[in-house]
Subunit: 148 residues, 2 copies
């Protein structure tokens, strides 16, 4: 990705992808949402190489999705915890998972369930105001609002 | 991404990312949702290199998100149109855009509006059954359901 081009442009999808438009990045966030926080947990859980993991954790921290916290002074060890901004991305990953389960679910996939009732939860994207599924809305992209 | 590992695994997020976990792929789908269909439109609209575009269009066609249609026999020319599966991904990109606008919106970003009323539309991920925002639900991941 051409950082300058996409970070300056008006499209918020491109700006988001600049921060999270990479499979490892998304999978690190997924694992963080399951409560993983430590380098070794991500390393083992993802089968990612240590140098890619180091780079992605740094990028996610810089972008404000993870917060680095020192949990041991001797030896010095950090853990990585989702920020509110990172937390807000998780439902989008869950919606992506629902789409993946529907279209690439051969042989069965893991399911998202309510932690209390155990009932299946199905993430869907709606318009916050009307509650209508986005798939039923006709939309268009308008240029940035002008400043007063 | 390790194709074998992620395509066989039970996580539907990983299976989805295997098909669309790349910024160019997502941006091609975004532009397709705007009505772009032709190689030259994507090339110009995205500033992508021709060989990467060729590869991504092939991958998206193989994954069933785009359908290749011949629109000229002489010279032979194809266009690429979103399939229903591809269309179903667009709301997720729109939710990603809302997240991007909220967190990386410095200087203003383009806005998604209702094509008829012109009112701002705000995509949010909710549980389809209860209508509750996913961010307010406590969920857990359950293993694939056993087959009867």
């Amino acid at each position: 990705m051409n950082y300058d081009k996409y970070s300056q442009g008006p499209c918020p999808i491109a700006r988001a992808l600049l921060r999270v438009g990479d499979s490892w990045t998304m999978l690190i966030l997924r694992n963080a949402s399951w409560g993983e926080t430590r380098f070794d947990q991500f390393l083992k859980g993802l089968g990612i190489s240590p140098n890619i993991l180091t780079r992605r954790l740094g990028d996610l921290t810089d972008a404000g999705l993870l917060e680095r916290r020192r949990y041991s002074e001797r030896p010095p060890r950090d853990e990585y915890v989702l920020t509110p901004r990172g937390h807000e991305l998780i439902p989008i990953l869950q919606a992506l998972g629902a789409w993946g389960a529907k279209h690439y679910g051969e042989g069965g996939t893991s399911r998202l369930v309510d932690a209390v009732s155990g009932k299946k939860v199905t993430p869907i994207v709606v318009d916050a105001v009307s509650g209508k599924p986005m798939s039923e809305l006709e939309t268009r992209v308008a240029p940035p609002a002008r400043r007063a």
